[in-house]
């Protein structure tokens, strides 16, 4: 038995030695891990990745790897971290980059960046990647969240004019929902969903219309009167599809694409959604869509839009000069021009506004300029963990296991405990 135990210890020591890391020479290729959810490239196509590497880096001295989206999309990254095989650079949306900063994986950047780098970025974007005064990541471009409305349905129920200016009241939305729902049992106003965190920003988009906030001054504040009113509305909205606690955002999108749902959460890129849905056989006839702000109650004059920026970080222990250069390339003008052009995103760099002149991009830009930005909490490095508390809150309400007040209180208490 003693021999076996000694042998075991030797094996573990050998395993630890074999997996230990040696210092990487600077001329080694820079490894970049990219989460591939909303790229204009095809994550399943290695050629498109090579094209991206070539476009940005001339194909030299970099190795790009997709981390595929889907359920538990960050899982492969975490597995790499656990195995000590993480890439030099990680490129993802702000929330998950922040998660690695909270876990102390991200290298502080202040001393690594060339002088004047920070000044090139819009300050509010840069703030999203700063924790306790330390810059741990750099912002790339952002998507902007809005509501996509089936204008054809609105015309059918005689209310096309209510979204003409890109904004509508909650009363108008409720009336339109009611009329659409009366068209038949398969018709709904909006498909509410709460099965997972994926796409939750589309669900939460109703909050600012009530004047509610999720976060304020690094605290969870959904238990404000406005927040509770909004949550009560979620609980009472009668024109949604049944079973919100078990539905995810794909249900929302799938139902909207049948042409029988008044509105869904969306962002730029929906100009041909109605036509595409028809051609894909999802809708019985093509329909027109329009981008609008989420509805607002009387007294709330501005409905801010949520922005979802991507960002890059360097894993601690990987701070080679070549890695820093590659990171700057990833957030640089050439990269961001690509994403604005291909994906209709909004640049984090100063001076790149107005790159696109299509109707939808201009409309979103105008709404952002007019109504401002809603804080989804992505600036919090604990965002991922707090975000995980949101679906159970909605689920508790939709299953009737907790009152709105109790579910919100649990969320606020647990969320603030995470922040402390």
């Amino acid at each position: 038995m003693r021999n076996l135990f000694v042998g075991l210890l030797v094996l573990i020591a050998a395993f630890a030695w074999a997996t230990g890391e040696a210092e990487t020479p600077d001329n080694e290729p820079v490894q970049i891990g990219i989460w591939g959810a909303d790229r204009a490239l095809d994550p399943d196509n290695e050629d498109s990745l090579a094209f991206y590497a070539d476009y940005l880096f001339g194909g030299e001295n970099v190795e790009l790897e997709w981390y595929h989206p889907g359920d538990g999309s960050a899982q492969p990254v975490d597995l790499d971290v656990a195995a000590g095989t993480e890439p030099d650079i990680y490129f993802d949306y702000a929330g998950r980059v922040g998660k690695y900063a909270t876990a102390r994986y991200a290298a502080p950047l202040d001393d690594l960046l060339p002088e004047g780098t920070q000044e090139q970025f819009i300050p509010s974007f840069l703030d999203l990647f700063t924790k306790d005064g330390v810059l741990y990541g750099l912002p790339e471009s952002a998507w902007a969240q809005c509501m996509v409305v089936n204008v054809t349905l609105l015309e059918r129920v005689g209310m096309a004019d209510v979204v003409a200016d890109g904004e509508w009241t909650l009363d108008e939305f409720m009336e339109a929902s009611r009329r659409v729902s009366e068209l038949g049992p398969d018709y709904h106003g909006f498909v509410l969903f709460a099965a997972s965190t994926a796409g939750d920003y589309w669900m939460l988009g109703f909050l600012p219309g009530f004047g509610a906030q999720l976060f304020d001054n690094n605290r969870v504040v959904l238990d404000s009167p406005e927040g509770l009113a909004a949550m009560q509305w979620y609980a009472d909205y009668p024109y949604a599809m049944a079973g919100a606690a078990g539905l995810d955002y794909t249900a929302m999108m799938g139902e909207f694409r049948t042409g029988k749902v008044l509105a869904e959460g969306g962002s730029w890129g929906t100009a041909t959604l109605g036509e595409d849905s028809y051609e894909a056989g999802l809708a019985e006839e093509p329909f027109e869509t329009a981008l609008v702000a989420y509805p607002h109650v009387d007294g709330v004059t501005q409905v801010p839009l949520a922005l979802g920026p991507d960002g890059v970080m360097i894993f601690k222990g990987h701070e080679r000069p070549a890695v820093v250069d590659a990171m700057l390339t990833l957030v640089g003008e050439r990269s961001q021009r690509w994403r604005v052009a291909m994906e209709g995103r909004f640049s984090s760099l100063k001076g790149l506004e107005g790159l696109r002149n299509d109707e939808f991009h201009i409309k979103l830009s105008d709404l952002i300029a007019k109504n401002g930005v809603f804080d989804l909490g992505m600036s919090l490095t604990e965002y991922t963990e707090i975000r995980g508390l949101i679906p159970p809150m909605f689920q508790a309400i939709y299953t009737g296991e907790m009152s709105v007040e109790a579910a919100v209180e649990r969320f606020v208490t647990e969320g603030n405990a995470v922040l402390e």
Binding site: G72, Q75, K99, R104, A245
Partner: protein, 280 residues
Amino acid sequence: MRRREHWLLIGPSLALYIIFGIAPILMSVTGSVYDSGPFGEGWIGLRAWRDVFTSPRFWTGMATTMKFTVVLLPIIMALSVVLAVVLSWARRKTRAFGRLAFYVPAVTSGVMISVIWRWALAPNGLINHLFNTDILFIGSNPAAFWSISAMVLSVTLGQPVIYLMASFATVDPELYEAAKLDGCNPWQEAWYITVPGILPVIIYLGVLRLSGTIQLWQFPYSVTGGGPNYGTTTLMLMTYQEAFVHTRFPEASVMSVVLVLLVMGLLMLSRVITGQRILG
């Protein structure tokens, strides 16, 4: 056989067992008190243990795990025995078809099975469509619990049924002949001869299923996400979430150790209850 040859024969298996079986357990133990790796904090003492044991969510996960175990284990074992007995009575072709039908889910990708179940159980899914109902199978409690249980049943019955049917051959045929002479019907034969004759196999399968049920996580992960309202969050799923969603590896290590201790404890209990009919 000489001692050296002995080790040579079991060496490869032993090495794999140590590397992938024993070492991870030991590393979980050390990982629960020492935050290792390039980003770790180093020695953290019992902090992670305290955090886990004072978390109400941990105890909810523990309760859900035990609930699944208490509900599923007897159903799986009882149904397996009944199905195996009934299939053994069937004609040869029916028996072959039955074995195949029950075993196919056991060798099918769990992800594919999850996708199919999710599609079938959705509010606008196959089952509600077929029966013209509005049941919220995965959007309400306790329906989600029972839905997950049904999924587990569908994939776990195959293996014990096959094992049990194979074990019937080990029962002395003369006992059945004697029973027939005494006027026993088939159910009496099954209850008084077959079941006692294969009891060690039943207990062995029960132990395997016990360990499998305690480690349940795939269906809650891929179908309900542990919801609604934490209703299907098992201890194993929590362990995964701690490690790979919240990147709290020490807390995940604590939960892993608790799971190991739980399985070991229940195995020892079953050993005591069954009078050491297995494992020794």
